[in-house]
């Protein structure tokens, strides 16, 4: 798991996981989150020019490591990598990568979705959006909260 300012190369991360997993893996699921140019949360559709991600060095890493731990307790997913960028990003840039390797695809799909849902609500990160409407700090949506809650019940 890495927190970094610079962009990441999906192909390189994928090759690394493939090499680590060898022939034990039957599936690698890759999710990449991108910065959108429209704000969906406020629903006003104002054009976003910059998204700034802030973190708390040490605690942010710990919070993501514990999300990965929980995923690995729930599903047989020996290979997990998360790369989360911080700092300023523009629309269409890559912001987060979740990669999960497993013997079978069902565990890999489920764990990747779980990790993303928890990143939205539990990772120690803050987002500030600069748009036509001005600057504002974002919060996770009700939908994000609902998705996290559903995992707690299942």
């Amino acid at each position: 798991m890495v927190i970094q300012q610079h962009d990441f190369d999906v192909a390189k991360i994928y090759d690394t996981m493939r090499n680590q997993a060898g022939s034990d893996a039957g599936a690698i699921v890759t999710f990449v989150g991108l910065v959108r140019d429209r704000n969906a949360i406020a629903g006003d559709g104002s054009t976003v020019s910059t998204l700034t991600l802030e973190h708390y060095p040490g605690m942010t890493e710990k919070s993501i490591a514990s999300i990965i731990d929980e995923a690995q307790q729930r599903w047989p997913v020996p290979w997990v990598n998360v790369v989360h960028r911080v700092g300023e990003m523009q629309p269409s840039e890559q912001i987060v990568l979740v990669m999960v390797g497993s013997a079978h695809r069902d565990a890999a799909f489920a764990a990747a979705e779980f990790i993303m849902d928890y990143l939205k609500t539990k990772a120690v990160l803050w987002k500030r959006e600069l748009s036509e409407a001005g600057e504002r700090w974002l919060e996770s949506t009700d939908q994000d909260a609902e998705r996290s809650k559903n995992w707690q019940q299942n």
Binding site: G33, L53, E54, Y56, G58, M59, K62, S63, I64, H84, I95, V96, M116, L119, K120, T121, K122, A123, V124, L125, W126, K127, R128, W137, L138, E139, S140, D144
Partner: protein, 80 residues
């Protein structure tokens, strides 16, 4: 002295990302902040959705603090 850190909208409200405060427990940190912060920043800090970490662990009690400890005020998080 303990280091008190503020993140995101709380940093904006307080006007700085960290303060040095002489305090023996978390209640004393609150007492000092109530005196030094303006009322708007103080109210934001006391909102229910603000979590407090001591040395990067979330606390829900009033832990004793030692010299060099780090207290952080964390507004609602979102990543991904």
């Amino acid at each position: 002295m303990v280091t008190v850190k503020f993140f995101a909208q709380l940093r904006d409200a307080v006007g700085t990302d960290s303060l040095q405060i002489a305090a023996a427990d978390l209640e004393q940190v609150y007492a000092q902040l109530q005196q030094s912060l303006d009322s708007e920043a103080w109210e934001q800090l006391r909102q229910d959705n603000v979590r407090v970490a001591v040395n990067q662990n979330i606390v829900n009690t009033n832990p004793a603090l030692c010299h060099g400890d780090e207290v952080a005020f964390l507004p609602p998080v979102t990543g991904g």
